[in-house]
């Protein structure tokens, strides 16, 4: 029985570790400025925790086999523990865990403590059951007012976010169902939700943030590769949660300008 346990514990450990190491499944390909740093920290955490995982399982398997009861007259060790060892592994794990966390602080700070730089592309993202809407402030650089009583999701577009046509600043606002942004420019996202909590998740951008009714949450990210990236909702929002998705299109500055101008033209 001891040998069976050793074999099974070791097999599970080695096979699952191998699948991790072979990266058969891994984080989605990163396409934002922050992705490399986050992925690097993930890898460091993975290596350190992987060592702890393998070591603990290997010793567990080894000990249950080696110290199984046999017919010999060997007596079990009579010991109540060892304070030096207790102190040693307490300090070591404390240093490891808290050190690891401390190393991630600059990354977290750049993601969340620091606001978007001036000159960032502003996009207001609004979540509602079960659709994302994206609003651009237009040439005036100002978002027009919205009013909850004007919200009409069935009408889509501007009405879906409740844009108030009476506000001059709203005249040039563009509301779309697909998010366009220029590559290599910081994007400032202003997250809102109309009904319940949603979560704006772009796996390739390493971007996730809840959109909470009553709050306007300012976030930022910088896409560094052009392409189409799927947007998901990552907070349970009702029966259509699984199909609440959207598309982020990262294009060149030129294409972006052209696209925005065309939307403005459609509006007039």
């Amino acid at each position: 029985m001891g040998l069976a346990l050793l074999l099974v514990i070791w097999l599970i450990t080695f096979i699952s570790t191998f699948i991790f190491l072979a990266k058969i499944w891994w984080l989605p390909t990163g396409a934002s400025a922050a992705a490399a740093g986050i992925d690097h920290h993930f890898t460091i955490t993975f290596i350190l925790m992987g060592i702890v995982f393998v070591a603990a399982q290997v010793f567990l398997g080894l000990f249950v086999w080696k110290y199984r009861e046999q017919n010999s007259s060997r007596k079990a060790l009579y010991t109540h523990g060892n304070n030096t060892m207790e102190i040693a592994w307490t300090v070591l794990t404390a240093v490891l865990f808290i050190g690891l966390n401390w190393a991630s602080k600059p990354l977290w700070a750049s993601e969340r403590f620091d606001p978007a730089k001036s000159g960032a592309v502003q996009v207001e993202v609004t979540g509602m059951q079960f659709q994302w809407y994206f609003r651009y402030p237009g040439p005036d650089g100002k978002f027009g007012a919205t009013k909850p009583e004007l919200i009409d999701p069935s009408a889509g577009g501007e009405s879906a976010v409740g844009l108030d046509p009476a506000d001059p600043a709203s005249k040039d606002d563009v509301v779309t169902g697909t998010m366009y942004v220029p590559v290599n420019r910081e994007v400032e996202v202003i997250l809102r939700a109309h009904d319940v909590i949603h979560s704006f998740f772009i796996p390739s951008m390493r971007f996730k943030q809840d959109a909470v009714p009553g709050l306007a949450i300012h976030m930022h990210f910088t896409p560094i590769a052009t392409g189409d990236y799927e947007i998901a909702c990552a907070e349970l929002c009702g029966l259509g949660h699984y199909k609440m998705h959207g598309m982020l299109k990262v294009v060149s500055q030129k294409e972006y300008d052209k696209w925005l101008a065309a939307r403005e033209a459609e509006k007039q």
Partner: protein
């Protein structure tokens, strides 16, 4: 083998009941109440497991119509996961280890005749029982069970218009949880008082078995956590039915403005997780205590670092109240708060690691007997390590960005709080069954059950780490809509097959349990050659546990292989040889 010295007769607080109703239904006897909790949890775990199987089937064969349920609509799937989570967390993981085994064995292990408040004990069970019925009723009302997940985040959980199941079903869900909190609070008071006031002569705190420490600390956590959840539940009920706006700001659902304004959805999350994180430890601490006990008993060795184990559990209890924000890194809380919570979360990994090292240290140099409870204790340690190791990923907010709300989280908490704790329940069942029913459970069936459960658990939850890294999101009723999820279908299928096999294996346990009650080999009073007080009394224990006597304790709980002792263990009541330590 009622060995040892006794301090004399103490009259029991209540006489042994004669009628069936007073003996088995409205019983004041902690042992009967323990069994009632246990069988409630057993019923609940099979219901919860069945729901999870339906979910797994729907995820890989979305078009298939299911028995009892029919076609699975997206809202049906969400109500399955809501009910699965609620049933498992409250009525299994909180109910069996603490209400079941804690009730049965805490008084006996500390040498008391009963819990401090037998009537309160009876009430706490029956309130919990009613809570379970109320929850199950949600399946059968108009609109069905709620779809807001076991965490019930408002506004989704606060607005009838937010989806099917958010009507009466959601009200029943909140009421059930509030009732459960009342039961848990009464029970917590009882456990704390019993531990502090009812210990036998010589049973100092530092001579208590680690199981008792675990139940004691769990009760303190329960006392502090369930009160908060209860209040939050009442506020949510008011938001839903009395027009208040604690949790709901001005919202517009599908073009209609709701009659709320000014509330904070994040307030619920704070209150919920102030309960919810300690709840994780409420579920796992009893299993930790039990596995410490079993690793020592079946290695025939004193536990490695008894004091370190006690201090580790105490620090887990204290730190457990300072980490709730790690569930909310992506919720919109201050990023500074998030980082602070993250540091505390990493810190709580330290006592958890200490416990693991001490379990492995106990095995080292032991003489291990592979009894069924020991197999599950070893399995527990392995699962605890695996589930624990993903903690430091999720505890770091930067890594939570890609991982939050993915299957990586599902893998993490199912391994460490779900299955590890359930392994504790299995281990406890195999270990204490002879004392509770006077017979041994069948060992061959138990071994088979162990291999199904151990390998099966890994087969189900290990792949979820992979799908989680690949950003597969939880609480999706189908993976058809987002292209990047399509490639994960084979892995999802594998998980479902593994679930089928693992669940099939659980029927071996169920059969063994009832078969052994009638047919199991007769057990003597101390079949495992263990030292703690429950093994000094008759089997099953008499109404007042020690037959009118109260034991006197001379030794610590884990005196195995004591040099110079006649046997390889010293009962806690053995006065002959003074053991060193403690």
């Amino acid at each position: 083998m009622a060995t040892g010295e006794f301090a004399g007769h103490i009259p029991h607080a209540h006489a042994a009941p004669q009628s069936f109703i007073r003996k088995w239904v409205f019983s004041l006897d902690h042992k009967v109440i323990g069994l009632q909790y246990y069988f409630l949890a057993l019923t609940a775990v099979f219901v919860g497991m069945f729901l999870s199987l339906l979910m797994r089937i729907h995820l890989v064969w979305p078009g298939v119509s299911l028995p009892l349920i029919g076609d699975i609509k997206p809202e049906t799937y969400l109500s399955l996961l809501t009910m699965h989570g609620t049933i498992m967390v409250f009525f299994v993981l909180t109910t069996a280890p603490q209400g079941g085994f804690g009730n049965y064995f805490l008084p006996i292990q500390i040498g008391a005749a009963d819990m401090a408040f037998p009537v309160l004990n009876m009430l706490s069970f029956w309130v919990t029982f009613v809570a379970f019925l109320v929850l199950i009723a949600a399946f059968f009302v108009a609109g069905g069970a709620p779809l807001h997940g076991w965490t019930g985040y408002p506004p989704l959980s606060a607005l009838q218009s937010a989806g099917p199941g958010e009507g009466l079903g959601a009200d029943l869900w909140v009421i059930s949880i509030a009732l459960f909190c009342i039961g848990a609070l009464m029970s917590a008071l009882n456990f704390i008082t019993t531990t502090l006031d009812m210990r036998a002569k010589g049973m100092s705190m530092m001579r208590m078995p680690l199981t008792c420490w675990a139940w004691f600390i769990t009760a303190i956590l329960g006392l502090l956590a369930f009160g908060v959840l209860f209040s939050a539940g009442i506020l949510l009920l008011l938001d839903r039915n009395a027009g208040t706006s604690f949790f709901v700001p001005l919202v517009t659902v599908n073009g209609t403005m709701a009659a709320h304004k000014g509330g904070s959805p994040l307030l619920w999350q704070h209150l919920f997780w102030f309960f919810g994180h300690p709840e994780v430890y409420i579920a796992i601490l009893p299993a930790m205590g039990l596995c410490s006990q079993l690793v020592s008993v079946f290695s025939r060795k004193p536990i490695f670092g008894y004091k370190a184990m006690v201090y580790a559990m105490l620090s887990i209890g204290i730190l457990g109240f300072m980490v709730w924000g790690h569930h909310m890194f992506m919720s919109g809380i201050s990023p500074y708060t998030a980082f602070g919570m993250s540091v505390m979360t990493m810190a709580i990994g330290v006592p958890s690691a200490i416990k693991t090292f001490n379990w492995i240290g106990t095995l080292w140099g032991g003489k291990i007997r592979f009894t069924p409870p020991m197999l599950f204790a070893i399995g527990f340690v392995s699962l605890f390590v695996t589930g624990g190791i993903s903690g430091p990923f999720l505890a770091q907010p930067v890594l939570d960005i890609p991982l939050h709300e993915t299957f990586f989280v599902i893998a993490h908490f199912h391994l460490i709080m779900g299955v590890a704790s359930i392994f504790g329940i299995f281990a406890a069942t195999y270990y204490w069954f002879p004392k509770m029913f006077g017979r041994m459970m069948n060992e061959r069936m138990a071994r088979l059950h162990f291999w199904f459960s151990f390998v099966g658990t890994y087969a189900i939850f290990m792949p979820m780490h992979y799908t989680g890294m690949a950003a597969l999101l939880r609480r999706y009723s189908q993976y058809t809509e987002l292209a990047y999820m399509h490639s994960l279908a084979p892995l999802n299928k594998f998980i479902t097959y593994a679930a089928f096999i693992t669940i099939a294996g659980q029927f071996i346990f169920l059969f063994n349990l009832f078969w052994s009650m009638k047919r199991g080999e007769k057990a003597n009073d101390n079949p495992w050659e263990a030292t703690t007080l429950e093994w000094t009394t008759a089997t099953p224990p008499p109404h007042d546990n020690f037959g009118g006597l109260t034991p006197v304790v001379y030794n610590g709980p884990y005196e195995y292989s004591v040099p110079g002792a006649p046997q390889d263990y010293l009962m806690q009541t053995d006065a002959a040889t003074k053991a060193v330590g403690h």
